[in-house]
């Protein structure tokens, strides 16, 4: 089975290479025979990569320790659930998993577009295949998951205990789905540049892909934060770690792209900008993989065998050089004759939003690569920490939050000052009320607290602005169509899913802002060494240490569990069970925190240490409003689902266009 897995990887590489060449030659030579031949390759590559992946999964599930990768990331006692996720636990498997997702996406694109614009699609498929070739080259010749051990050991080394968490099954695939997904709009953008088919056709063809990828990347970031929160045991969810940053940067640039692309669709302008943004988004996804696989930057996420940095750096260099050259070569075709109607318009607010998002992305990028630069220039690796990111990104983030509220209130094309005053009245009034109500209760002793106060006020501004938009739209529709409130609201949202789905996403973003602000500024924590029966107080909670229990969970895992009674106002409120898990063969124990999560705050407990006399060191955090962030994530998911839902009106318009074109030009119309 391993032989087959290894062989199909080679076959996939050879086929993908042939596919690239054949697609390009078919497009350049206008040869349908070559196109039809090349057109079989996405499916063959997918089949080969899938067979190879099944072989690797089988090796994990059957404890085949003759494979070095299986030995390094699994053992006989490992739960089946984690044997499945061990596939992407290390560098070799994660690259194969990446390739599996990429070839699957490519297959879907192939089925979606094979009968559409044949001037663009062959190049787009070729670009995707080139990227597949790069990954398959690495897997085959540099980091092969089917590498054998001559004398297979009896048992494996086991999966890192930190990765033995259900988030391991959810977070990496979600993030990868986002990362890999941006290959599709990137490929179509490059194809449009090569084929000189530079109207907004490529944007329309890949709009859903961009949104899906954005969604997965966004959820991947949130899931990662959630995993860090429950698993790493330091009371936080985001540490501005280089790899966290690497996942955050493409999200920021893609968000900018999602907004600015609307201006291109509406006004046929900003083509160079949009092209650059999608190319930059893709480059950032490769930069992210470079960070995890280079070993150049220290991060908790870095793979053990991070040795592929130079390959990714070279690939990144090729991508950036090729794309920049292409954009420069096509500049005359990308020029737009249209201009913005007014400085006070929604288009302008989108432009500002783009600049702010790119500002945060650049600051994050600078902080991430600063250790490399400082080492190159001064031979000293200087790492910048959260204070740098917070100092730069928080003010820009607040300006961005304000723009989320300003955007819906401003009209497209042109806004008038008198109307702005009228439309801003309610959101400003709401934010003033919140400012006044919160003022006596919120400390304003330092910059962080002032920022938090401003965040809450702006959140009120944005939420009021969005709800006013829903309200006005519903009332307007009720007047025009004589519908009930619910009917008008539903019909309005359904007929303009993109706009109202977007507003719902913005509400989710507001909750995330509020959650971050609340948890960062008003959290508290304490650490106590306690004997059995002792207790202490933290922010109105009385924590009593009741007992310490040791459980042999499996042959390789021992759990030490502390029982902590939580009392409030003299009544037992909750019982917490933070624990430490010891794994055979692993030096470091793993903390499993216990969290009581409410809308107001999280009570977060860690068993930091324990002694033979059953005394224990307990660390307790009170983190306000953390659950707001997770709720915000689900609201984003809901809003994105509405935005992505197929639009029958749009489909009808597209079919109508094709029909008209076919009537006038008898050859089959292609879009």
């Amino acid at each position: 089975m391993n032989d087959i897995g290894e062989f199909t990887l080679l076959l996939a590489l050879a086929t993908a290479l042939y596919g690239c060449i054949a697609y390009v030659m078919s497009a350049r030579g206008n040869r349908i025979d070559l196109y039809l031949s090349a057109d079989k390759t996405p499916f063959i590559v997918w089949v080969c990569v899938t067979i190879s992946s099944i072989c690797l999964w089988k090796a994990f599930l059957t404890d085949d320790f003759s494979l070095q990768y299986v030995w390094a990331y699994s053992n006989r006692e490992l739960d089946t659930f984690y044997k499945v996720s061990s596939f992407w636990g290390g560098q070799k498997g994660s690259l194969l998993f990446w390739t599996l997702l990429l070839s699957t996406y490519m297959l879907v694109v192939y089925f979606q577009n094979r009968n559409k614009n044949l001037r663009v699609v062959p190049y787009a498929m070729a670009v995707m295949l080139i990227i597949v070739v790069f990954f398959l080259f690495l897997i085959n010749f540099s980091t092969n998951p089917f590498e054998r051990i001559p004398l297979p050991p009896e048992d494996g080394r086991g999966l890192n205990p930190l990765l033995q968490n259900y988030w391991m099954v959810i977070h990496p695939p979600t993030l990868y789905l986002g990362y890999v997904g941006f290959t599709v709009p990137f490929a179509f953008a490059v194809a449009a540049l090569i084929s000189k088919d530079l109207d907004d056709g490529w944007i329309r063809m890949t709009r859903k892909w961009t949104l899906i990828s954005w969604f997965f990347l966004c959820m991947g970031n949130l899931f990662g934060a959630s995993w860090a929160y429950v698993e790493l045991g330091w009371g936080g969810y985001w540490a501005w770690d280089p790899v966290e940053n690497a996942a955050f940067m493409p999200l920021l640039i893609a968000t900018a792209f999602l907004h600015s692309v609307m201006i291109q669709e509406k006004k046929d302008m900003m083509k160079v900008w949009n092209m650059s943004l999608i190319l930059l988004t893709f480059a950032m996804t490769i930069f992210g993989t470079f960070i995890t696989r280079s070993g150049l930057i220290q991060s908790v996420h870095t793979f053990d065998e991070a040795t592929l940095g130079y390959y990714f750096l070279a690939f990144l260099f090729v991508i950036i050089t090729a794309c920049t050259t292409l954009i420069i070569a096509r500049l005359p075709l990308l020029k737009s004759t249209n201009e913005l109607d007014s400085f006070f318009s929604r288009e302008s607010s989108f432009l500002f939003n783009n600049l702010l998002l790119l500002g945060i992305a650049f600051a994050t990028f600078w902080g991430t690569i600063f250790p490399i630069i400082s080492e190159a220039v001064r031979d000293v690796k200087i790492t910048v920490g959260p204070p740098f990111y917070n100092q730069v990104n928080v003010p820009i983030g607040l300006a961005l939050l304000a723009l989320i509220g300003i955007g819906p209130v401003i009209a497209w094309r042109r806004a008038t000052l008198s109307n702005l005053k009228k439309n801003f009245f309610k959101p400003i009034l709401a934010s003033l009320i919140v400012a006044i109500v919160l003022f006596p209760f919120i400390p304003l002793g330092n910059r962080a607290e002032i920022y938090t106060y401003v965040t809450f006020v702006l959140c009120a501004f944005v939420v009021t602005s969005i709800f006013t938009e829903f309200y006005k739209g519903t009332v307007s529709r009720m007047g025009l169509h004589e519908e009930s409130v619910a009917g008008a609201l539903t019909a309005m949202t359904w007929r303009n899913k993109r706009r109202y789905g977007g507003y719902i996403v913005h509400i989710g973003v507001v909750l995330i802002f509020a959650g971050i602000a609340g948890s960062q500024a008003y959290g508290t924590h304490t650490e106590k060494h306690l004997q059995l029966g002792e207790s202490f107080e933290i922010r109105g909670y009385t924590i009593k240490y009741e007992k310490l229990v040791a459980i042999e969970a499996t042959n390789i895992k021992t759990r030490i569990i502390a029982q902590l009674a939580v009392e409030r106002d003299g009544n037992r409120y909750w019982t917490g069970h933070p624990e430490k898990e010891f794994y055979k063969g692993q030096n470091q124990p793993v903390s499993e925190v216990d969290v009581l999560s409410t809308w107001k705050e999280d009570l977060y407990m860690i068993l930091a240490d324990f002694q033979e006399d059953e005394s224990a060191t307990i660390k307790v955090y009170v983190n306000p409003m953390v659950s707001w962030m997770w709720t915000g994530g689900w609201i984003i998911a809901f809003g994105t689902m509405i935005s992505m839902w197929p639009d029958r009106l749009e489909q009808r318009r597209r079919l109508d266009r094709i029909r008209k074109q076919e009537q006038l030009f008898p050859s089959p119309a292609q879009e």
């Binding site: 087959i4 040869r31 025979d33 062959p122 401003i410 006005k472 006038l664």
Partner: protein, 104 residues
Amino acid sequence: MGFSHFLELILIVAILLIVGVPLFGKLKFQRLVEPVDPTIEEYKHLLVRKEETLISIKELEFDFNTEKISEPDYKELLNRLETEATGILEHLDQLEQRRKKKQA
């Protein structure tokens, strides 16, 4: 030859057949795409612009109904968009007429 080698051989032959057949078979068409006809491209572009302009008019009306834009601005922008839409429709009409004449 072991079973795995036999399977590998089968896979190679299958792939060669799948990608090779179109290269040697008889095909109904010889060209992948027709040469770019600027008229078709312009027509396609104008159809999209027409749609976008009509959507913009609808949005302008919505913005006016929800009091985001003043009446003078609304009238001016509506006039501009209607002129733009008329221009596009006229252009489309010209292209259609020219094409029909050519076909006749």
